[in-house]
């Protein structure tokens, strides 16, 4: 199968989530993505397992003599670096930067989320890199981009708060401190948008022959997902409070408790027709015939009483039972799936969307596939993330043509790790 990006080489100077996620999407479509890694900033290679991994010591506190760094590969790192190559290279040394520049000559795209000043000091800014490779595409995915806060360090959770997401993400009575701002949704969005800008620029280059510089600020990539929220402010001069799960025009429309500990389902009835289907699915209970529940307007008005009755019904079933009963009758409903449910997800598994990789000391780990699966142009099954420096030989010998003697000297000089 022809992979969409075969023959495209990308140098990846990113860490955390948004940058690595963007280049992983491209690697999955056949781009040769070479992570340029340092022993000083191992970033996500550290850390444990799970959705909320710990991040132990900083690398400057780390005693490298006691650990085989090539084994440092947390599941959290793998998750965002499948299908890539790893090159261990010390960019703080001038000889390291010379090697990087030689690679630029052989590459199509350079992606980074390092600070502006580091990239400039190293001579890796666009104006300098295009002198080396005229049609290079240089992509930066900074937190906030150039401007008064350009030196700010932020994690994805900060940007939910900064952009207005956190303000709008809660139940109507949730205090600001407890609103949802502890996920990395914005990182993924910025990563996917950045990947699309790279594809668009490559497509453009295939016609024009020209490269360019691209900046996708994570804060703006995230804020632009709140179009109607901002328009409501600009046009109606209103800052909408958090809406919660209920809908202003429809009822019943909410999250309901199910059988089990912390188990929930959602039901989203958006027409009178669906209401009748809903009542039928419940076996046409007496309470549902109450005049207070017969029209959308009345159900909205008497929502509290309506929901009391529905809760009594949903509590008898598991989330997936509620979904099956209601969806079979044409009513929009779903299980509030936790990560265990997702792991066993009947639909994703049926679509062949899960794959398992041997992950060395972390055992076998199952991943779900990329957000969009293509019929052509994409690898059918991803390959494991690289060990630190796993592709040194390929890059230094085959791509750059260094002799064994030269490589030995560079290792001695701490240019190559």
């Amino acid at each position: 199968m022809t992979l969409a990006l075969s023959g495209i080489r990308i140098l990846d100077l990113t860490d955390a989530i948004s940058g690595p996620f963007s280049t992983m999407l491209l690697a999955n479509c056949g781009a040769e993505v070479i992570r340029i890694e340092s022993l000083r900033h191992l970033g996500f290679r550290f850390g444990g397992a799970g959705e909320n991994p710990g991040f132990p010591l900083e690398s400057e506190d780390f005693d490298f003599t006691k650990v085989d760094t090539s084994l440092l590969m947390s599941p959290n790192f793998s998750r965002y670096n499948l299908d890539k190559l790893s090159l261990a290279l010390n960019l703080t040394k001038p000889e390291g930067r010379d090697l990087f520049n030689k690679l630029v000559k052989l590459s199509d795209v350079v992606v980074d989320n390092l600070s502006f000043s580091v990239m400039k000091n190293w001579g890796f800014d666009y104006d300098t890199l295009r002198e080396i490779k005229k049609d290079i595409i240089v992509v930066k995915i900074p937190s906030l981009g150039r401007g008064p806060h350009e030196q700010w360090t932020t994690w994805g959770m900060n940007l939910l708060s900064f952009t207005g997401f956190a303000h709008g993400w809660g139940h109507p009575d949730t205090p600001m401190e407890e609103r949802a701002a502890n996920n990395t949704y914005g990182d993924y969005i910025a990563g996917m948008k950045a990947a699309s800008t790279i594809l668009a620029a490559l497509y453009n280059r295939s016609n024009s022959g020209e490269g360019q510089y691209i900046e996708v600020a994570q804060a703006e990539a995230t804020a632009s997902m709140l179009g109607p929220y901002f328009m409501d402010y600009f046009v109606n001069d209103r800052v909408s409070p958090p809406r919660g799960n209920r809908h202003p025009q429809f009822a019943p429309y909410n999250c309901f408790p199910c059988k089990g500990d912390d188990r929930w389902c959602v039901i989203a009835v958006s027409s009178d027709e669906e209401w009748h289907q809903f009542c039928g699915a419940l076996g046409s209970p007496k309470w549902a015939e109450d005049a207070r529940f017969q029209t959308m307007e009345n159900r909205l008005k008497n929502n509290e009483e309506l929901e009391v009755n529905i809760k009594a019904w949903t509590r008898q079933f598991t989330p997936h039972q509620v979904m099956k009963i209601l969806q079979s009758a044409g009513v929009p409903a779903g299980a509030v799936q936790n990560s265990e449910d997702l792991y066993y997800d009947h639909h994703l598994r049926n679509r062949g969307h899960m794959f398992t990789l041997d992950h060395g000391q972390h055992g076998e780990i199952t991943f779900d596939g990329p957000p969009v699966r293509l019929a052509a142009g994409q690898k059918p099954q991803p390959e494991n993330a690289p060990r630190l420096g796993e592709h040194n030989d390929y890059v230094y010998q085959q791509l750059l043509g260094l002799t064994r003697e030269e490589i030995r000297q560079l290792i001695k000089d701490k240019v190559i790790f």
């Binding site: 207005g164 303000h167 600020a217 901002f230 109606n236 912390d262 049926n350």
Partner: protein
Amino acid sequence: MTTGDSAAVLDGLKVLDLTEERGLYAGKMLADFGADVIKIENPAGSKDRQVGPFKDDVPGLETSLYFISFNTNKRGITLNLDSQAGQDIFKRLAAQADIVIEDAEVGRMASLGLDYPVLRKLNPRLIMASITGFGQTGPYSNYKSPDLVSFAMGGLMNVNGPENAPPVVAPCEQTHYSTAVATVFGILTALFLRVSTGEGQLVDASAHQVGAALTGGVWGYSSSSQIRERAGSQFGAVPGRIYPCKDGYVHILTIRPNHWRGFLNVMGNPEVLTGDEWYSAPYRNGNVDIIDAHVTEYTMTHTKLEIAEQCQANGVPCTPVNTAADFTRDPHIKEREFFTEIEHPVIGRHSYPGLPYQFSKTPCSINRPAPLLGQHNSDVYCNELGYTADELAELKAAKTI
């Protein structure tokens, strides 16, 4: 669409956009990248015109801020795809298009005789994206999936919300937009592949798959056997949440040891917290009350901008917590001119969230407000497809457009 002298990055690409809900943002992204995106609505207007908020809370065909927000940079025509004549016209348009995007329920395009196998025969280079809740195949493919259902099934809902309250959905319809963003990635990959193969393909996008990818639940559970619980805004080591301050709220994180070291500096190195044991995340998390007392003593006597600046100067990831209004007034956002003013013939001149992509050679911007219903009918039907004014009137009389 061009900006000044330089064409935008996807200039010259032709897109037919049939989306009304989940795919709206995909058409917008392609239009923002400079493609010529024609939004095709049924003659009564597409569903997104009925979605609030509305200008002055008055529903109307041309007052939906939802519609206006997601259809900038697109042209708009009307076409009744339920009629034979409408289907024939659509086929003429599709024969010349690069991309078709649709987000109807599974089977709808086939029932119109406009599904990918049919269109592919007319135009083998065509890339078609079908965007649904669960994808075109699989046991749930016929399930109804509004945003709330997709959000629940994708896994992001269960982990979001206060500790002792039900899970809660994100603001606006995030599963619609995130699925659209992922779809654009699929479309552009297919487009780049087409450069070498000359062939298009069907992109089968599923909100459920996108949700799972953005939650990380499969990998998270597989590697840890743990189910994450809701924790409000708290992430990682304490302090790692939203805290109240003198004039609002700030979001402070101390994920890594250097963050904690920096935050100790910010708080003036309170003696009780300076021992080595406090560098351990589990230790800090077991002493929340002691830490929170010191954090709030500091935050309540400083403004959010003071706190953010002091934290940042010490390497601590910290930002103010903004409302929509606060965000638009942030000096950084203002200086970057992220918000763009444009004139709309019905709602007037207003600011819109701008584009988060800066291209040095192929700059893009919002140049065109969302189309009025049928605004570009004569543009497209007469100037581009060659219908005469009389024929256009006949199509109108027959309710084809």
